[in-house]
Subunit: 162 residues, 4 copies
């Protein structure tokens, strides 16, 4: 389903040898066009990043529909988890990784396969030593209308813990 090899832990996002900070890793993804296989499957990619913030562009298509003919809530949840998760990664030191603890998503307007691209912005609300809270939203690229919103918690994994 994807021709790109996934970036793995040992490539530097997480524990196991990276000498790059999380922000460097995300910037490398933007510049180098690298991505995860899920991002490819769901047609989303990081387009901007700074410390504590990331922007994702994603394009809904006919492969993401629910029974009602609208885009599945799981697609929006995936895009938001990606945006917020990337924002969290930008705050990691070299050698740290992260995992989503919980994600709470609110679906505000239906997304249609012909709605066109969306932009998802993730922002870190608080960077604790072990837990990070982030929030974000999806808007239509065309008219800026708010489509979905999410808030969640991430855990910081240290290299020695794997």
């Amino acid at each position: 389903m994807s021709e790109k090899k996934p970036i793995t832990l040992t490539d530097g996002v997480a524990p196991g040898g990276s000498r790059r900070s999380g922000l460097d890793v995300i910037r490398g993804m933007i510049d180098g066009g690298m991505t995860s296989t899920m991002a490819t499957t769901m047609d989303c990619r990081v387009i901007e990043a700074e410390s504590g913030k990331a922007v994702i562009r994603a394009v809904p298509n006919e492969g993401f529909l629910n029974l009602h003919g609208t885009v599945h809530g799981g697609w929006a949840a995936t895009v938001l988890d990606t945006a917020l998760g990337c924002a969290v990664v930008t705050t990691l030191d070299a050698g740290q990784g992260t995992a989503t603890v919980e994600l709470s998503t609110r679906f505000i307007r239906p997304i249609f396969p012909g709605s066109g691209p969306v932009l998802a912005t993730g922002t870190v609300v608080n960077r604790g030593r072990r837990l990070v809270v982030a929030e974000g939203r999806i808007v239509s690229e065309k008219d800026g209308k708010l489509l979905a919103q999410a808030t969640g918690t991430w855990t910081v994994l240290e290299a020695e813990r794997g």
Copy 2:
């Protein structure tokens, strides 16, 4: 990405002409093998349903990985949204539809592409006139280990509202 035509509103899950109850629609999906395109993309399908409950079987694969090489949280969120949403649909009268208002997911153990199939059970906690609360969890088919948990709220849409 999918060769199956999605079931749309007018096919009976929601407003617009169906004379079948939500439970009949879900049972038809189990018997007839019909599904949504998102379910095909994410490799999940309904395998059991009764009033207020639905069970989904889903298979993680290499196309669903995050940057860390584990299965993306968005895949688990999609599987749970599907399981809980199908449980909600089983409580709908003919002519009613539904949409997810909010979904809160907790990621308990990492899922790996080689972890094998998972089972997601959705259960309706309360069926109000306009709002429905449902909860559920994903366990490994192999050993029953708990992988993720979700609770959410759905709105009931009446035919005349579209």
Copy 3:
């Protein structure tokens, strides 16, 4: 526990005869010092309001402690539910009421009885016809440190529905 009579539905916040908008009701509370009994019990009150936004000031005390000697999470949840709920009320027309559907709270730093007053700001993220999404946070009045965060969903009740 409280000497103030609660403002009830028939006083204008909700269905049943009010000719005042939600914003007027909240402004009346600020000017007139009216409040709910829960706000008195929990020592919190509205200090600012505009359309789609409300600010609450609350003072933690020795009556709100959990087993660990810090302020109970339920106090922060109450203050946030009040702040977000008041923000939602400011968007209501005369004759409309509201009720919390769900509230998701994140506890970021411990609050101590001697921490001093906190400010909770609630902001409406989206005002739908039947559902409203709002978010907000609690910060220390003294140093602005983020203490807790919440997002939630409210339903709009029409007078004729009670």
Copy 4:
């Protein structure tokens, strides 16, 4: 507002010298009638506990009303946070403490001051090494009707971390 001295960290629920397990501490509360000041303020107390589970009985009164004359959502959130939190405490070893990371509450039916006592049951869904997921619900003692539901995440604090 309360005449009972709160049990503090050093009394054994959390880091700092206790040689009792969390379950012993909760059982001591049931037998000895000890409680936190917030539980007194909100009129709730633990009545049953076993490993991974706790039951709270709480009585709504006129001091807990919102602007609409019904019981404030913050009261239900407090009762649920207490029930789930006590369930989490029953899984702690001597010397461990806990704090709520996040709590997601759904308000299903309005609670009235004359509704009579409620029972809140908290159950641990998963006890990880550092994070615990718990869920629970509030029902009317009189007729068993479901009033509210919550799910949340707790962190395990070790004695040496304070």
